[in-house]
């Protein structure tokens, strides 16, 4: 009798000793079987509200104090975040599969337009506008990437954190395509379009960008997890996306740039996914703690005007396109879009 089979026979009997058929994680509370999404997300943040401190270091370790202050110490609390579900229910595998198909579409789009020698046929006045309005948006897009990654690492449940990771990656997706377009345009319209120093100078000095730069820089230091989430997902990002996805997509279409028109309509799908997640999380919280309507309302108030001033600064540039859009028309679109979004959560 070989050791292998002998051991297995005895091993099974002995190892099987107290075997109970387990259908789910022991930390799963519901009777039904969890979905794959739930299996790989449920209660992953064991460190939230862990005593005496989240992490196995001195309780006064700077990062223990940071989490105790900005997460456990945030006014944005509910008893149990673990029942929240992101409407899109994305696991990592779902996310990369979803975005592969979308990136395939955008690659196809660029292919089709490049075959028509699209860049060279764009009017110079339009390209000049892109240099000031569009190309520097990789800086603002990067800030949104950073702020999503921040509230994601601070969120009290992996159901929330993971949606934040994917939102941060979506920002990287959008800004990388703007980098590609900047380089492609530069081959027909001049090296300056792909010159990092010049683009940074516009972001740092051009008056149209300064209100946006101000609200973005301040967004980076809103360290309370609730405020970071609200400022980003309930105010700055929806306002920014209404401007740089929806309004800008329309402006591009008006000016014969259907490549940017269709690309930014595609990016708006990512923004809508982030919006749906945001609405679901806010409803989840306000249903459990009605006072959060007041709390979220106060944060919205704090960030709304700076975000609108930021949009207004860039909206002024919309007028300068060959077929321009009036600044007020752009701002009406942005404000209406933002109000409709807030109304979905009863926070208008």
């Amino acid at each position: 009798m070989s050791k292998e089979s002998g051991a297995r026979a005895r091993g099974d009997r002995q190892v099987g000793g107290l075997r109970r058929k387990r259908k789910a994680w022991s930390l799963w509370e519901e009777r039904r079987v969890p979905s794959d999404y739930e299996v790989v997300s449920h209660r992953f943040h064991y460190h939230f509200r862990r005593e005496p401190a989240p992490f196995d270091l001195d309780p006064n370790h700077p990062i223990n104090r940071w989490y105790l202050k900005h997460r456990e110490g945030s006014p944005f609390q509910v008893d149990d975040w673990e029942q929240f579900r992101d409407p899109a229910r994305l696991t990592y595998k779902d996310y990369v599969t979803l975005q592969k198909d979308r990136e395939l579409y955008v690659d196809q789009l660029i292919d089709d337009f490049e075959r028509e020698d699209h860049y060279r046929r764009l009017p110079k006045a339009w390209v000049d506008l892109l240099e000031v309005l569009y190309i520097p948006s990789r800086f603002s897009g990067h800030v949104l990437q950073m702020s999503a990654m921040y509230w994601a690492q601070m969120a009290p449940s992996a159901y929330i954190t993971n949606a934040g990771y994917f939102q941060g990656a979506d920002e990287l997706r959008r800004l990388q395509r703007s980098a590609y377009i900047a380089k492609a345009l530069s081959l027909d319209h001049g090296e300056h379009l792909a010159d990092s120093e010049r683009t940074r100078a516009i972001w740092e000095d051009d008056p149209h960008w300064q209100p946006m730069r101000e609200v973005m820089e301040k967004l980076l230091i809103a360290y309370d997890w609730g405020e970071s989430f609200v400022a980003t997902n309930l105010v700055v990002k929806p306002v920014y996306d209404a401007l740089m996805n929806v309004a800008f997509s329309g402006l591009a279409e008006q000016n014969g740039d259907d490549l940017l028109h269709l690309m930014h309509r595609d990016f708006q799908l990512d923004s809508e996914r982030a919006a749906n997640f945001t609405v679901a999380l806010v409803r989840y919280a306000t249903e459990r703690v009605s006072d959060h309507r007041r709390l979220l309302g106060e944060w919205i108030e704090k960030w709304r005007e700076p975000a609108y001033r930021a949009a207004e600064g860039l909206a002024a540039l919309f007028e300068k396109a060959p077929h321009g859009m009036a600044k007020e028309a752009v701002m009406d679109l942005v404000r209406a879009s933002h109000r409709t979004f807030l109304e979905r959560m009863g926070l208008a």
């Binding site: 997300s41 992953f44 309780p59 990067h142 993971n162």
Partner: protein, 501 residues
């Protein structure tokens, strides 16, 4: 395909660095979240990843990989393959999932900290991919054992371990919290990606993938090798960070960061991989001993890279080389003897044939550790297995939180733990480097209570061993047992020969 090659536009995807006007740089990058040793900000803008990748390439490659690995899993789930696996290998698998699965996801928090507080846009971008990678590794390495729950409830610990105060979970968690979950962005770049991932896991996963295929665990082999292909992408984050530190005269700081983490990684590695390679992997599938693996893969390759970058090996290199001869043997004996306190079924791994292999790989093994197993084997043969189970707690190191095991050579001077006093409290350590790591920055650790400190402080009432198991979150269906129900104690070498044909 879009006409522009990645290299044509890549620099425009990573130049988003600027001087702040409306907020101060110290507010955007506070010291507690990124410990910048006075390297000028604009130096960090030159951070250059050797391994370039764009978002579109990332989602193309990654969706293919996941599709492949999950289909392997689905195929295996239908087969009886798992049941045919050796019980020793199942021990290695169960231990790995409990100690590594959720922490991989925790590494996404460390990566996202760099994605927000990394001091250059290129660094923040690479960490954004790293964050996604670790989310993948965490989710996939939790999903696979979930599919094995019906095989044994111990696989539940792939999800539960880090919620508990089991001593092995504390050892892993206290290291990973220091390494990335609660580490500042700059230290994480050096201590997670460079020291731990490049130094150890990069190779450990390679070693395990090969063993898994050898043993016939196709599912785990596919999983681990697929994870491995992501590792080099985000493990690269350490190198550009190190280069900028060295270029700006911060070698002392860089050396300190590596040295305060390398040793801890070595101890956890010896616990997980040492036991797996020297005792759990079936004899006929062992390609090399743990010591040989360390010397070939970790030491030689890492030393080369260390020197290429202008770094020195850690001061305790010789102490580690000595420990490579015996430390894993002590840990194995400790884990086996205290088996009810672990969530896997340790394989004794000391049948006569296995002892012969151990003597060949570690000359003198039978005169040191072998003598303990003689007494234990005797007790088992006499039907006195209760004598092979613990009646008290081992001492646990206040740094690595692993039981204080000592060289078993009676001629050596003493077994006493290393001691530090700090703010009126006494701390005990298993080794000189663990004591040194504490003494270097005691304020990071001082207020934390080891499992023994908690026992002595009365946190476990009544203070019985049974209650300690409950405190550790261990339920009877999880308590570790001998993987082969002591079969190895009755195996004569002659039986072994019968195994061959």
């Amino acid at each position: 395909m879009p006409k522009l090659e990645r290299s044509a536009y890549y620099d425009l995807t990573r130049d988003m660095n600027w001087r702040f006007k409306y907020v101060r740089a110290e507010e955007v990058f506070p010291q507690e979240m990124v410990h910048n040793p006075e390297v000028p900000y604009e130096e960090w803008w030159k951070w250059d990843e050797p391994y370039k990748v764009t978002y579109r390439e990332y989602v193309y490659n990654q969706s293919e990989k996941d599709h492949g690995v999950y289909s392997v899993k689905a195929a295996i789930a239908r087969s009886k393959l798992f049941d045919a696996l050796d019980n020793g290998w199942k021990a290695a698998l169960t231990a790995h999932y409990g100690a590594i699965a959720l922490p991989e996801y925790l590494a996404s928090i460390g990566e996202s900290r760099m994605a927000r507080f990394g001091l250059g846009a290129s660094w923040r971008n690479m960490a954004t991919y790293g964050c996604l990678d670790e989310t993948r590794h965490g989710q996939i390495q939790v999903y696979f054992p979930y599919g094995l729950l019906d095989k044994h409830p111990q696989f539940d610990w792939a999800h539960k371990a880090f919620h508990t105060n089991e001593w092995g979970a504390i050892a892993a968690r206290s290291m990973f919290d220091r390494m990335f979950t609660a580490n500042d962005a700059l230290s994480t770049a050096i201590q997670l990606t460079f020291t731990f991932e490049t130094g150890f896991t990069n190779l450990q996963f390679l070693g395990m993938a090969a063993d898994a295929m050898d043993v016939g665990d196709v599912e785990f082999g596919a999983l681990i090798s697929s994870i491995q292909t992501d590792e080099s992408r985000h493990a690269q984050i350490g190198e550009p960070t190190l280069r900028i530190l060295l270029k700006n005269g911060k070698k002392k700081e860089a050396q300190r960061l590596v040295e305060t983490m390398w040793w801890r990684a070595w101890h956890i590695f010896a616990l997980l991989t040492g036991l797996s390679m020297d005792y759990y992997t079936p004899l006929e599938h062992r390609s090399m001993s743990f010591k040989e693996f360390m010397e070939e893969w970790v030491l030689r390759q890492f030393l080369d890279m260390f020197r290429d970058l202008g770094m020195d090996p850690p001061w305790y290199w010789d102490i580690m080389r000595d420990e490579m001869n015996w430390y894993q043997h002590g840990l194995h004996l400790g884990v086996w003897f205290w088996r009810p306190t672990v969530w896997w079924n340790p394989d004794g791994g000391v049948s006569e044939a296995e002892r012969e292999w151990l003597e060949e790989k570690y000359p003198g093994w039978n005169d040191t550790f072998g003598r303990y197993w003689d007494v234990i084997t005797e007790n088992i043969r006499n039907g006195q297995t209760e004598k092979t189970l613990p009646q008290t707690l081992p001492l646990v190191c206040n740094m690595c939180h692993i039981p204080i095991v000592t060289l078993s050579d009676p001629k050596q001077k003493h077994n006493a733990p290393y001691v530090s006093e700090y703010n009126g409290r006494r701390y005990l350590f298993c080794s000189e480097p663990c004591k040194w790591i504490f003494d270097v920055e005691p304020e990071k650790y001082a207020g934390y209570l080891s499992i023994v400190d908690r026992f002595l402080a009365g946190h476990i009432q009544p203070p019985t061993l049974e209650n300690v198991l409950a405190y550790m979150g261990l339920t009877p269906d999880i308590w570790g047992r001998d993987a082969d129900n002591y079969a190895w104690a009755f195996q004569k070498k002659v039986d072994q020969a019968a195994v061959g044909n």
